[in-house]
């Protein structure tokens, strides 16, 4: 084990998989010569050459479609979106082609492709650059949606996603790239299965399910509340589809309370899905309604103080936790 950044963990996963399998290649805007807009692909061009680390023009629908075509016919593309915000330009390719092809062709054309890139808001980049896209893609059968919160998960889950024979929407937290954490040594080949949540912190009073940037905020709040004797169990689903309902439900049966914290808009999405599943499977164990702490239901404003109000932060998370504990 050594400490590396989330960014480098992702890079290592790609490098090791490209090393292992010549069919794997990376394609996207500025991934090669520029070394990646967020430097996630730094060094890959030198290591693998321009035939496998391919710079594209600004043509998201085009290169996403190229990826799907290549994947249908045996290659294993990793398509980088400079940010997931721009994936909406390629939505048709991901939703109508990548996700539906295998079933539509009665299994004749699997689509082993990974779409990856930074997700959710950065800082002060305004409404068109601040989407957390997980609700859009979680809605689609045929897609896996993966969202690692830590460097170790980033590496292990990306390796699994690249080896998966299905299309994977791989979301990286735009503000998490510099986060450091323990990751197995290079070449150790740790893979982490999709659909297996992780209990990050044990506690008995309330279960908090969270991922992405709020993952870190929740841990902060949990540490603080622990000083008051409130013990929070924190669960990171790691993949939002498939979703590991069992781990969450087991936890809620123990704590009898549940809060879901996420950075996407409140209407629908995986947050609402978790509420639905816990209500269905653990209704008799609940001592309070399940609540969500989410971003506000507005397009992201530019001004920093407003952005801070919109993004789910420690205050809203703490208040929500106190609410389900009836301790406000």
């Amino acid at each position: 084990m050594r400490e590396i950044t989330y960014r480098d963990a992702l890079k290592e996963a790609m490098a090791e998989e490209m090393e292992r399998d010549p069919r794997v290649f990376v394609m996207g805007e500025e991934v090669g010569h520029y070394q990646g807009a967020y430097k996630v692909t730094r060094g890959l061009l030198d290591q693998f050459g321009a035939e496998r680390v391919i710079d594209t023009p600004i043509a998201e629908a085009g290169f996403a479609g190229v990826g799907v075509g290549a994947a249908m016919t045996g290659l294993r593309p990793i398509i980088e979106f400079m940010t997931w915000n721009f994936s909406f330009v390629a939505f048709d390719q991901i939703v109508n082609n990548a996700a539906k092809m295998y079933q539509m062709s009665a299994g004749q054309y699997p689509v082993p492709i990974v779409f990856r890139g930074p997700n959710a808001s950065a800082r002060q980049v305004g409404a068109q650059h601040s989407h957390a896209v997980e609700p859009f893609y979680c809605n689609v059968p045929g897609l896996a949606v993966v969202y690692p919160s830590t460097p170790r998960d980033a590496k292990g889950l990306l390796k699994t996603s690249i080896r998966d024979d299905n299309p994977v929407v791989f979301l990286e937290g735009e503000t998490l790239y510099n986060v450091k954490g323990d990751v197995p040594d290079a070449g150790e080949d740790e893979t982490i299965p999709l659909g297996q949540a992780r209990v990050v912190r044990e506690g008995r009073h309330v279960t908090v399910v969270t991922w992405g940037r709020p993952f870190y905020t929740v841990l902060e709040v949990a540490n603080r509340l622990s000083g008051e004797g409130i013990e929070i169990e924190v669960i990171d689903p790691r993949s939002l589809r498939p979703l590991d309902t069992d781990t969450i439900v087991q936890s809620v049966k123990k704590t009898n309370r549940c809060v879901v914290v996420h950075e996407h808009w409140p209407y629908g999405g995986p947050g609402a899905e978790i509420v639905d599943r816990v209500t269905r499977d653990a209704f008799d164990y609940l001592d309070a309604p399940i609540l969500r702490a989410t971003n506000l239901d507005v397009p992201m404003p530019y001004a920093l103080h407003l952005e801070n109000k919109v993004i789910v932060g420690p205050d809203r998370i703490e208040k929500t936790i106190r609410d389900v504990l009836y301790k406000s």
Binding site: E29, E30, P57, A59, A122, Q124, G126, Q128, A303, V310
Partner: protein
């Protein structure tokens, strides 16, 4: 439209007009230099894409159109906001996230808007706004007025679907739109040769059934006259034009881009040969203005910029009520195009 019959470059540029143009270009230049400073001080956040090096385009264009025409552009939008008539205060306050900003602090650098001045905004998704431009052109044709829409984008945008489909429809329906590619040679970190299968972007025009034009854009008068021709065609119902203006950005793609993909020799060479503000200054002197006249304009600009920064510093932060109130429009009257908004 006096400039209609003139050959490019031939238009006599009156000293007054040159003085106004120089003022405008100098203002854009200085506002952006101050913005860059404020960015480093943390007063401006997010992405800040500077227009420095391309000022002759926004200013030349404004001289070729009417106040009733429309402009839409990308995230590199400060110059157009200013030429459309947004005050330096309104631009700077927007950059600072203040309520007095031209989008009340909700839009920031990439999303300046000015309804009363018919500035349809800066847009963040490359190419998406080309279709919007076609829509505004559709509206002008629908209302049978002689207004014209100008749509600006970089050469990087010409590969994307929004561009292609927007131009397809505009060409098909002969909409009064002038599509202007500001080709500054780089799409973020990638030089033209590696993003475009064609060397000449206007080669695409015939495919869309459009007229075309292509020229260097460092001289504001050249820009004014060449744009005027395309605008006249659009106004006369002859349909859209695709124009490629060759230019150069002197800074990185945005403040977060150190621009390592270009040599400093290349940038210096470009600045030496084609600094549009210096060229405009020179033209003004040649038209008979004295060094004193020029210095007076520069001093005026300094005052305006200092005032804008002070104003932005001191004005009220963006309001929470704005971000909530503007999610959905309250009108249900269907009264047709709205022009309000902003401060």
């Amino acid at each position: 439209m006096g400039s209609l019959d003139m050959q490019p470059g031939e238009a006599p540029a009156a000293r007054d007009e040159l003085a106004r143009m120089f003022h405008s270009m100098q203002l854009i230049r200085r506002i952006e230099e101050e913005a860059a400073r404020a960015y480093v001080q943390g007063k401006i956040g997010g992405f800040l894409h500077l227009y420095i090096g391309q000022e002759a385009i926004a200013v030349g264009v404004e001289a070729a159109i009417r106040k009733t025409d429309w402009i839409i552009t990308t995230y590199r939008d400060h110059g157009f906001a200013l030429t459309r008539g947004t005050s330096a205060r309104g631009v700077m306050a927007e950059l600072f996230g203040k309520d007095a900003g031209c989008a009340r602090g909700l839009g920031g650098s990439m999303h300046m808007f000015d309804g009363p001045n018919r500035f349809l905004g800066g847009h963040g998704i490359v190419g998406g706004h080309c279709s919007l431009a076609a829509g505004v052109g559709f509206r002008c044709k629908y209302l049978k007025n002689d207004e014209v829409v100008l749509c600006f984008f970089g050469e990087g945008a010409t590969n994307i679907g929004g561009f292609h489909e927007g131009l397809s429809l505009a060409g098909l329906w002969k909409l009064p739109v002038v599509f202007v590619c500001e080709n500054n040679m780089y799409s973020m970190g990638t030089p033209l040769e590696r993003t475009l299968p064609a060397k000449d972007i206007t080669d695409k025009a015939p495919g869309y059934g459009m007229a075309r034009d292509r020229f260097e854009g460092q001289d504001v008068i050249e820009v004014r006259d060449r744009i005027a021709k395309a605008v006249a065609r659009a106004r006369d119902g002859e349909g859209p034009t695709l124009i490629e203006i060759l230019t150069y950005r002197f800074r990185g793609h945005s403040m977060s881009d150190p621009g390592k993909y270009r040599t400093s020799e290349e940038v210096e060479e470009r600045k030496r040969k084609g600094d549009p503000v210096r060229i405009a200054r020179q033209r003004l002197l040649e038209a008979g203005a004295s060094e004193d006249d020029v210095a007076r304009i520069e001093a005026q600009v300094e005052e305006e910029v200092a005032d804008a920064v002070k104003f932005a510093d001191e004005s009220e932060p963006a309001k929470e009520s704005s971000m909530l109130d503007y999610v959905l429009a309250r009108t249900t009257s269907g009264d047709g195009p709205r022009e309000g908004g902003g401060a």
